[in-house]
C-alpha cells in the first residue's frame, strides 16, 4: 500500500487515485445500466434484466463490466476487435456499431450489441458496449429463442456482423429500416435500440469528462495498473484453492424425436495454485447439433467463467486482468463453444449454458465441504415463456414479449440456502419479477395462480430454493406461448451429500378440466378457455440434510416451505405443538433420536 502525495506521478499510479478512478469507471457503467434499464421497452430488458453494459479498452480488453448477466461477461472484447478489423481506419467519433454475430464473439443473435468507439484527442481509447436481448429479432417463429432451428436459415434471424448503425451521431437509416421491415413490433425494437444506444452514448460523454479531468496519460497508466491489480487479486484467490483436476459431467433435457438422450456435457478444470492458473477444458463435448442449442464461444466461456467467479472471493474484479489467469481449451467443432456455420446458436445463452454453469460450480464441490455450489434450477418454463398474439382490447394490435412471472429455485452454498427469485443459472437472480397486474394489463392473459411449491426444494444442510407453479389463461384471442425449457428431465443435483431438487413440468388444461403433460420444448397455441400450468425446478441441496440446523427446519415448516413429514423423514427433525397457535417447537430429544435412527438406517442399507 505505498502512498505517494504526488498525484502527477503516473508510474506507478497513486493507489488512492487508482481507487478513485476505479470508482469513477464503475459509476459510469452503473449510469449506462440505469439508463438502459429504465428507458427500455421490452420486459425482457426492463424486468428480466437480460442486458449488460461494459467498457472495453481501445485495444479490445474488457475494462469494466456492470453487475450485468454473468453470461455476457466474456466476448465483448472479441466483438470490438471484429468491429476494428471490419472497419479499420474508417472508425471515427460519432460512429456506432451493431453486432449480433454468434460466430464473432457475441452470445447469440437475440443479443443486439451496440458499440460506440470513444475517441480522446483523436485516439480510440475505449469502446462502450451495451448488449440487450431483444424481444424479437425477425426469426421465423415469434420468439427470439428457437430451440428447433435446424440451421441459421431455418432460425431466420437478421444477423449484423459489426455493422455501422450511426455516423456523426445520426442513424444510418438503411440499417434501421432493415430492422423495422423485419422485426415484429418494430416500435418496441426501436425503443430498445434507443435505450441501448443512449446507454453507450452516456458512457462516451462521461469518459470524455473523465479524461479531461485527469489527463489521458493518467487514465492510460491507470488502466494498466488496474489490470495488474485485478490479476493480483485473482492470483491470491486461486492460490487459496487446493491443487486439483476436476472433471464433471451433466445432461441437458432430451428433445423429442431429435435428441432422445439429451446431450452429455463435460467441463474439466485444472486448478494450479502454484502457477495461480485455472485451466478450463471444454473440448470433450459433442459435435454441433442440427438445432438451436449450439453455444457460441462467448456464451459458453461466459457461463464457465461466471461459475468460476461463484467459487472465488466474491469481489475479485472481472476484467481482462483477472482473466489472464484463466486458460481455455476448446474443440474444433462442438455444441460447446465451437459452433460451425450454419449451425444455429439461437438458444446459446440458456439451455446448454445453464447446464454448463451448474456443472462448473458443482465441480468445485469436489474439492470438499466449503467449496462450490449445488446445481440451481434450470429452464425457461411457462412463467418465462415468450408469448405473442393479437390483443383484442387494442384492435388486435400484435404483441410479443418474454414474461418473468415465475422462476426456478436457486442453488445452495456451504453457508446459505437457495435464492427464491433465481430465474436460471445464467441470470443468477439478477432479474426483476413481472407484476401480475402489469402483465395482465399489457397482454390479454389472466394469471389464475402463482405460488411456491411446498416440499419441492432439494434438501441439504443448506437447502435449494423451492419451485414455483403458475397457471394462466388467455382472455381473448388465442395466444402463442413458446416454451424452450431445459429443466424437466434432469433435475438440479445436490452436492456434498445434499439431495437433488425437483424437475419442472408443463401441462395443458382443457376447458373441461382435462390435464395433459406437454414436452419441455413446445410452441403452444393456447385457445380461449384453455389454461397452461407450469412448474419450475427447484435448487439442489448442499451437505447432509441430517446436519441442517433444526432452527432452519423449524422456520421452513412454519412458513410452509417444507412439511412436518419431510422434516421428520428427510431432515430428522421432530416437532411438538402446532403452527396455527404459534406453539410449534423442535422436540430436541426426539430429533436427536430420529437423526441417529436415520443415520443408522443408511449404514445398514
Amino acid at each position: 500500500m505505498p502512498v505517494t502525495s504526488d498525484k502527477a506521478s503516473i508510474s506507478p499510479i497513486d493507489p488512492v487515485l487508482m481507487t478513485v478512478l476505479a470508482n469513477r469507471l464503475d459509476g459510469i457503467v452503473r449510469e449506462m445500466t440505469n439508463t438502459l434499464l429504465r428507458a427500455a421497452r421490452s420486459a425482457v430488458i426492463s424486468s428480466a434484466r437480460d442486458f449488460s453494459c461494459c467498457l472495453v479498452t481501445g485495444d479490445d480488453r474488457l475494462l469494466a463490466p456492470a453487475e450485468g448477466l454473468p453470461v455476457h461477461i466474456f466476448g465483448c472484447h472479441i466483438q470490438t476487435a471484429n468491429m476494428r478489423r471490419y472497419h479499420g481506419a474508417d472508425i471515427r467519433r460519432g460512429d456506432a456499431y451493431l453486432d449480433n454475430d454468434p460466430y464473432g464473439g457475441n452470445t447469440h443473435p437475440a443479443d443486439h450489441t451496440y458499440m460506440v468507439p470513444i475517441f480522446i484527442d483523436g485516439e480510440h481509447l475505449f469502446t462502450s458496449v451495451a448488449k440487450c436481448h431483444m424481444a424479437d429479432i425477425g426469426n421465423s417463429i415469434p420468439s427470439s429463442y428457437f430451440v428447433l432451428a435446424r440451421d441459421v436459415y431455418h432460425e431466420g434471424a437478421l444477423v449484423f456482423p459489426g455493422v455501422r448503425i450511426q455516423r456523426d451521431f445520426k442513424n444510418i437509416e438503411d440499417i434501421v429500416r432493415m430492422c423495422r421491415a423485419r422485426i415484429r413490433v418494430p416500435d418496441q425494437w426501436y425503443g430498445d435500440y434507443l435505450a441501448g444506444l443512449g446507454s453507450a452514448r452516456v458512457a462516451e460523454r462521461r469518459l470524455e469528462e473523465l479524461c479531461a479531468k485527469y489527463g489521458v496519460a493518467t487514465i492510460k497508466r491507470f488502466m494498466e495498473d488496474w489490470f495488474d491489480y485485478s490479476e493480483r487479486r485473482m492470483v491470491e484467490s486461486i492460490r487459496r484453492m487446493p491443487k486439483a483436476r476436476l472433471v464433471n459431467k451433466g445432461h441437458s433435457d432430451p428433445l423429442e424425436g431429435i435428441l432422445p438422450g439429451g446431450l452429455e456435457l463435460t467441463v474439466k478444470l485444472e486448478i494450479d495454485p502454484d502457477e495461480a492458473i485455472i485451466h478450463v477444458d471444454l473440448s470433450d463435448n459433442p459435435p454441433c447439433v442440427d438445432v438451436g442449442l449450439n453455444t457460441s464461444l462467448g456464451a459458453a466461456t461466459s457461463a464457465v467463467v461466471g461459475a468460476i467467479f461463484n467459487a472465488l472471493e466474491k469481489d475479485v474484479p472481472r476484467n481482462a486482468g483477472s482473466f489472464r489467469r484463466l486458460r481455455f481449451t476448446y474443440a474444433e467443432e462442438s455444441v460447446v463453444a465451437a459452433p460451425k456455420f450454419p449451425h444455429s446458436c439461437s438458444v446459446a445463452t440458456t439451455n446448454v449454458c445453464e447446464r454448463l454453469v451448474n456443472i462448473t460450480q458443482s465441480a468445485f464441490a469436489q474439492l470438499g465441504d466449503g467449496h462450490g455450489l449445488s446445481e440451481g434450477g434450470t429452464g425457461l418454463g411457462v412463467g418465462m415463456a415468450v408469448i405473442s398474439g393479437k390483443d383484442h382490447r387494442r384492435n388486435d394490435a400484435p404483441f410479443v414479449n418474454r414474461m418473468m412471472l415465475s422462476t426456478n429455485g436457486g442453488p445452495s452454498s456451504p453457508v446459505a440456502d437457495g435464492w427464491v427469485n433465481y430465474a436460471i443459472p445464467v441470470i443468477a437472480s439478477l432479474m426483476y419479477r413481472d407484476s401480475v397486474e402489469v402483465d395482465e394489463l399489457k397482454h390479454p392473459l389472466r394469471v389464475t395462480s402463482l405460488s411456491l411449491v411446498p416440499d419441492s426444494a432439494g434438501a441439504g444442510r443448506h437447502r435449494g430454493a423451492p419451485a414455483q407453479e403458475i397457471e394462466l389463461t388467455p382472455t381473448g384471442n388465442d395466444v402463442t406461448a413458446v416454451i424452450s425449457c431445459d429443466g424437466q428431465h434432469a433435475p438440479p443435483r445436490g452436492v456434498v451429500g445434499g439431495y437433488a431438487g425437483t424437475a419442472g413440468s408443463t401441462w395443458r388444461i382443457s376447458p373441461n378440466g382435462d390435464i395433459s403433460r406437454l414436452p419441455n420444448v413446445i410452441q403452444l397455441l393456447l385457445k380461449n378457455g384453455e389454461s397452461v400450468r407450469g412448474r419450475d425446478s427447484s435448487g439442489g441441496g448442499y451437505g447432509d440434510p441430517l446436519d441442517r440446523d433444526p432452527k432452519r427446519v423449524h422456520h421452513d415448516v412454519l412458513e410452509g416451505w417444507e412439511s412436518r413429514e419431510k422434516a421428520r423423514d428427510i431432515y430428522g427433525v421432530v416437532f411438538i405443538g402446532a403452527i396455527e397457535d404459534d406453539t410449534l417447537a423442535v422436540d430436541e430429544a426426539a430429533t436427536g433420536a430420529r437423526r441417529t435412527e436415520l443415520r443408522t438406517a443408511r449404514t445398514t442399507v
Binding site: 500500500m1 502512498v3 440505469n34 439508463t35 429504465r38 427500455a40 421497452r41 443512449g198 407484476s435 395482465e440
Partner: protein, 692 residues
Amino acid sequence: MGYRISVDTGGTFTDIIVFDEATGSLHIGKALTTHGRIFDGMREAIAIVAEELRRPVPDLLSETDVLIYGTTRATNAVVTKRTAKTAFLTTKGFKDTLTFKEGGKHGPHDYTYDYPDPYIPRRYTFEVTERIGSQGEVVVPISEVEIDEIIATLQVRKFEAVAVSLLWSIANPSHELAIGRRLDALLPGTAFTLSHELVPILREYRRASATAIDASLKPLMQQHLREMSADLRAAGFAGDLLVSTSVGGCQQVDELIARPINTLKSGPAMAPVAGRAYAALEGLGDNAIVCDTGGTTFDVGLVRDGSLVYSRDSWLGQRWLGDIMGTSTVDVRSIGAGGGSIAWCDSGGLLRVGPQSAGSIPGPACYGRGGDLPTVTDAALYLGYIDPAYFNGGRLKLDAAAAARVIERFAAEDGSPPDQVAAAIMTVANELMIKAIGEITVSEGLNPRESVIVAGGGAAGFNIMPIARELGCATVILPRLAAALSACGMQYCEIVFEATRSRFTESNAFDKAAVNAALAEIAAEVETFRSRFKGAERAHATTRFIVETRYRAQVWELDTPLSVGRIETDADVDALVEAFHQVHERVYAVRDEASPVEFVNWKGRIAIKLFEPPPPPPSVAVAYAPDPDSQRSCFFVETGRRQTGIYRGQRLLAGAEITGPAIIEEPTTTLVVYPGLTAKLSAAGNYLLTCA
C-alpha cells in the same frame, strides 16, 4: 409572539430547534433519545434551549404555538420487529406476493446470504376466493360466508391488525370494501387497511407491502401519538401538534393515526426541505444536493427546480431485500458509511474502507471502548481535524493515543507514512459518498456541476469540501445548525397531503372522461382534506397534479407534472405528452416522439402553508478575516503537517472569511477547510464553502 419547536427523534439523538418568533432566532438542543418514553429525551433537549433563553421549560412550552414532531417510532418498530400481529388477506392463488417481492439481488456471484423473509409470515396469510380482472370485471365473486369464516379464525388466533390487498382492487374495490364492512361488523376496533384506499396504484407487490406495513403499525402508532399528545399537554403545551411525514411535509395527529406508514422515513425526508430553504435563502439557485452525514449512515436527497424529488421505490431495509413502502416519498438514498467504517488492505494491495463498521460499540479506537481497528474517525483525529476534548460538543472525550496506535500500526504494515495513510483513508471513504451522490443525481438526471450542496449532520464538515470539489460543485452551504438539519427542515415545512388514483390510458386513445373523473375524485379528496384542516381556510395553499407516465411497453414510470387540473382538449393531451418527452429526455437523454405514451397513476398534492418560515436574520455581512482562536498541528496532502488555525464558530461574525487550511469548530459540528478553499459566514448565518 411565541415559539415554534421542531423535534427530530433519531435512533441515538433527539434534535430540537426552537424558533423564537420575537427575535427571529433559531436555537438548537440535543439530547439522547429515550426509547422508553420519547417525551423525556425531548424535554431534556428543550431544557437546553430553555436555559439559553432563560425561560422555564413549562413556560416555553405554554408559549409555543406549533410543535412539529418527527418520529422514528414506526421505523424502529419495523426494524426491531415489534409491530402488531398482522394478518394478510389476499386473492386466492397469490399468497406468496409478499414473499416473491420484486426480484433483484446484490452481487451475481455472492451466495453467502439467505433469501429474506416476507413482511408478514406466510402462516399469517389468508387466501380469499375471489378475483377481479384487469378491466375491473368480477371474474370470481366473493363469498360473505367465507369472509366471515376467515374473520372468525382471525379472532381465535388473536390478530391485532389486518392488511387486505386483493388483485385489481384498484380497478374495482368492491371486494376489498366487502371485507372491510365485515371486519367493521365482526371485529370492531381491530385496525385494518384496505390497499385501494391507502395506495391505489398498479403492481400488486407494492400495494400489498404498503398495506401490510401500514396495518401492522396502526395499533402502536395510535397509542404512541396519543401518549405523546397527552405528555405534551400535561407539560403545558397548548398549541397545534403536527407530525412530519415521508412526503416532506407535516400533518395533524389524526391523519397519521389513520395512515401511520406516512411517518416512516419522515426524518430523512425533512433534510431536503431544509436544503431547499437554505439554497433559496442564500440565493444559490433551485437545484441542490442535500447530504446528511450521521454516525453510521450517509443520506442524500435532491431539490430540483425548487421542488422536492419523489420516488415510489423507497425500501425499509436494503433495496430488493427489505420491504418496499409503495407510497410516494421524498427520494432519499441511504448508505452505511460514516466515522465507524473500518480501513483495511485487500489481497491486491489496495486500501479499502468499509463496508465493515465498528459502529458505536465498540466504535472507533479513539472512543476507548475496545475498538482496535483503524476507522475514518481515527484517521480524522490523527490528521488533527478533531479536537479530542471537543468532539460532539465535548460530550465524548476521545483517546488520541489509541487513534495514533491503530493508524501507525496500519501504516507500518507496508512502511508508508501514517499521515499519508490517514489522508488516504479519508479520500477512499469520500469515494463511497461520491458514489452515493452519483447514483441519485444520475437516476434523476441532475448535473452536480449545476447544483449547490447543502450539507448537514454532525459529521458533514470533515469531508464535504473535497467531495464537492470531486463532483465539480462550486459551492456548499453548511448551516451553523447543520447538526440538526431535519429539525431545521420542519421549521420550513408545509402541511402536505397526496391523493392518488390509478387510471390507465394511452396518448393515442386518451380517455379524457375517465382521466377527468379520476382528477375530479383526487381534487375532491384534496378539498375534503383541506376543509377538515383547522386553520387552513385562511392559509395559502397550492395543489399540483402529477401523473406517473412512460412510453408504451416501458415498465418504469416518470413523474410528469400536469399544467392543468382537467384534460379538456386534444391540445391539453399534446401538452402533457410533450411534458413527458421533456422529463424522459432530461432523465435518460433520449425522447421517442413516435411512441404512444402510457399514463398510469394520477396524483394530486396539496401544500398548505400553515406558518411562515423563519425570516433571515437582519445582520449585514461585512467581509473580514478573523484571527484564529488557537493553533493545532494538522496534516493535509497538499501542505504536509503544520500548525493550522482553529476558529471557534460562535465567535465569528457574519462576513468572516477563512482560507484553508483551517478548522472551524461549532458546538455541534466541525468544519475542515481544505488548503486553497475558503469558507465564508453569510449574513443568514450559514457557512458558504467555495470548493472550485
